[in-house]
Symmetry: C2
Subunit: 394 residues, 2 copies
């Protein structure tokens, strides 16, 4: 018969996808305007104008070139544009032969993990974390260890992290701005984390790769800066997706960037190319590659996210909810009003609030609110959040 | 360090890739118009007009919907359109919940193989075969056995095939119209193959899946019919890509269709969904999904391929080359004029002919000619083929 592990992964869809399907069904019953779906990290603002303008312009050109295969690792001119762009921002010494175009963030991660993993390898990540990290590492034959966060600020707990590193640690996955907490790891956190990694690399005599999953890099509010990790640690691999910055999550376009200072960076890049091949990623969608070439650096108008962040954070904390004020991404990570976040989310459905329990993110007792919706939706939902809180005051 | 297996896959350039690089260098020396590059299977005809028209129309609509996530398995309306279309053509009883949208043929195959594979599993395919089948099956932890073709017609050799089936056979991969031979498996072949599979399923008491990789389905000439395998065998999984029919190879869009008559088809589909998740395929590129919804059934103008087939086949056989007359795809698979196809291809370079040795396709002593080029290129190349043949007459 089929692989029961795969059938299991297919039947037990991620909680987020389950809620997504519930939301569609519920919307069909009572109308989408009556469902407060805060479950999905689907950008609610349109792509910058240049995206659709570029697409239209491209379709008036040579169809065979536009829709034809690029090199497996991506069109050379597109990769050069990306490395030039990153160098101009971060002075990181990249070149096109360290950039591999991917079908989005999930592809960036599965390819990178597959490229690195040998028998018995372990990866470490920090709670709260995107649940698919567990699926991706297990699927590559590795195991995932989880470091619990410092409370209440949800920065990495460096001592806890250090205690998890072993001779078998192949890599560490960080995600900042973080899904689901919205927290941006401070420069202090990054420096401390890299210092521990450097020490442990020397101790074990082999590289430990720092995989930085950063689809939310551009989604930060106020004057907050997201440290460019490659500049703090040599064995860094960036897994990027344009899904959030350009509001293109469905188009599956992103890249992997291997640090030029990584030990034997050419071998790391070759392994990325090999893993892409093994997983069936031959070239990333061609037209979207050319769109990136024209639109890199553009960012959707994210002012609505900041407005939503403020509105939701201020109102929810006033209602008595506890949460860390997010500096980035478009998530609020809130302490559930009972220990069991699943039960809490079930109760929230009474008020048509669709929230995601934090358990799958490695943080039981919390729930995620994706506020990438219209501000009007947030405003309309506030009485529901109030009613939910009141339920617990009785 | 990184996985040496992956680094190996990344470093070992495919023969086709080597020729591609040689072609670029040689073109720079003597001009592209003087190099007869028959190495790449990149469609040379534009996408049907509806494709780019639909793209332009879509970009004038709602950007958030257009570029947003669909369900992991693909947009429901798109999947319904595809199942309706296949039912109307083949009366096969599909429904949308047996269709899984993919990022193209390679993704369709890696997902399907991963979905099926348990420890110790074996797959069988028929030479000549697309070399990546070996990479995909090995990457999933399975082994690939190869059945040699019947000569001279390159249909499956059913007795040889039967001798390869064991208790561990999980699946069989066929590719018709075939890359690289251009041969379409006859209804007689399909029936004989399915009869053997049915017998062996009963003997071993477990399903053996028939994976049919058919990106070239629509590329057939004259009155040739490609049997729809699902109608001949219950445990069939179709791996399709729109890359050739719609001339969209770079866009990475295709689907997996699980037969409604497959044993526990729901479990098979769940395993496909689970494998897609594990490999990092979350939703296929959204805009291209919507393009498929509008353009399914359209086919690029393939008359140039048929014209090229006739021109090349007639002339080459007249010159003394031996090959099976291809009924589909855009390849001619020719017996090399010496035993060593690599040596033959090296000699062909004297006449600026770039051909691909058949060894990597599991068929030493043959060469592949991809005739998806302009007819003018074919015409201009004929004296070079003649000169090459003459070399062996001395």
């Amino acid at each position: 018969m089929v692989s029961q592990i795969m059938a299991g992964h297919g039947k037990k869809r991620s909680v987020i996808r389950e809620i997504f399907e519930y939301s569609k069904a519920r919307s069909a019953q009572i109308g989408a305007e009556n469902v407060f779906d805060f479950s999905l990290g689907n950008p609610s603002v349109p792509a910058p104008a240049c995206v659709n303008e570029t697409i239209r312009a491209l379709t008036n050109g040579d169809s065979v070139l536009l829709h034809g295969y690029t090199s497996a690792q991506g069109d050379a001119a597109v990769r050069e544009k990306i490395s030039d762009y990153l160098n101009s921002l971060h002075g990181c010494g990249l070149n096109k032969d360290l950039i591999y175009m991917t079908c989005g963030a999930a592809a960036s991660l599965t390819i990178t993990i597959k490229a690195l993993t040998c028998d018995g390898d372990e990866f470490i990540t920090f709670a709260p974390f995107f649940p698919e990290y567990r699926v991706f590492t297990q699927s590559a034959g590795a195991t995932l260890k989880v470091s619990m966060p410092r409370k209440p600020d949800f920065q990495p707990d460096i001592a806890d992290f250090e205690s998890l590193i072993s001779e078998n640690t192949k890599g560490v996955i960080i995600n900042s701005p973080n899904n689901p907490s919205g927290v941006v790891y401070s420069e202090e956190s990054i420096k401390a984390l890299c210092a521990v990694l450097d020490k442990k690399q020397r101790e074990y005599g082999h590289p430990i790769y720092l995989i930085t999953d950063e689809p939310y890099r551009e989604l930060v509010y106020g004057s907050v800066k997201v440290p460019f990790v490659m500049n703090y640690y040599n064995n860094t691999i960036v897994c990027y997706s344009f899904s959030k910055a350009l509001s293109l999550p469905g188009e599956r376009i992103g890249y992997i960037a291997v640090s030029p200072n990584a030990q034997e960076s050419g071998d790391v890049y070759a392994a990325v190319c090999g893993a892409g091949r093994c997983l069936g990623y031959v070239c990333a969608p061609s037209m979207m590659q050319y769109v990136i070439k024209e639109c890199i650096g553009a960012v959707s108008d994210i002012s609505v996210y900041e407005k939503n962040r403020n509105l939701l954070y201020d109102n929810l904390t006033e209602m008595g909810y506890e949460c860390v004020r997010p500096d980035g991404a478009f998530y609020l990570f809130v302490k559930a009003l009972e220990d069991d976040a699943y039960a809490f989310c079930e109760k929230a459905k009474q008020f048509e609030l669709l929230l995601v329990p934090g358990d799958d993110f490695g943080t039981p007792g919390y729930i995620r609110i994706a506020y990438c919706v219209s501000t009007e939706r947030i405003e309309k939902s506030l009485p529901a959040f109030k009613a939910l809180a009141d339920l617990y005051k009785k």
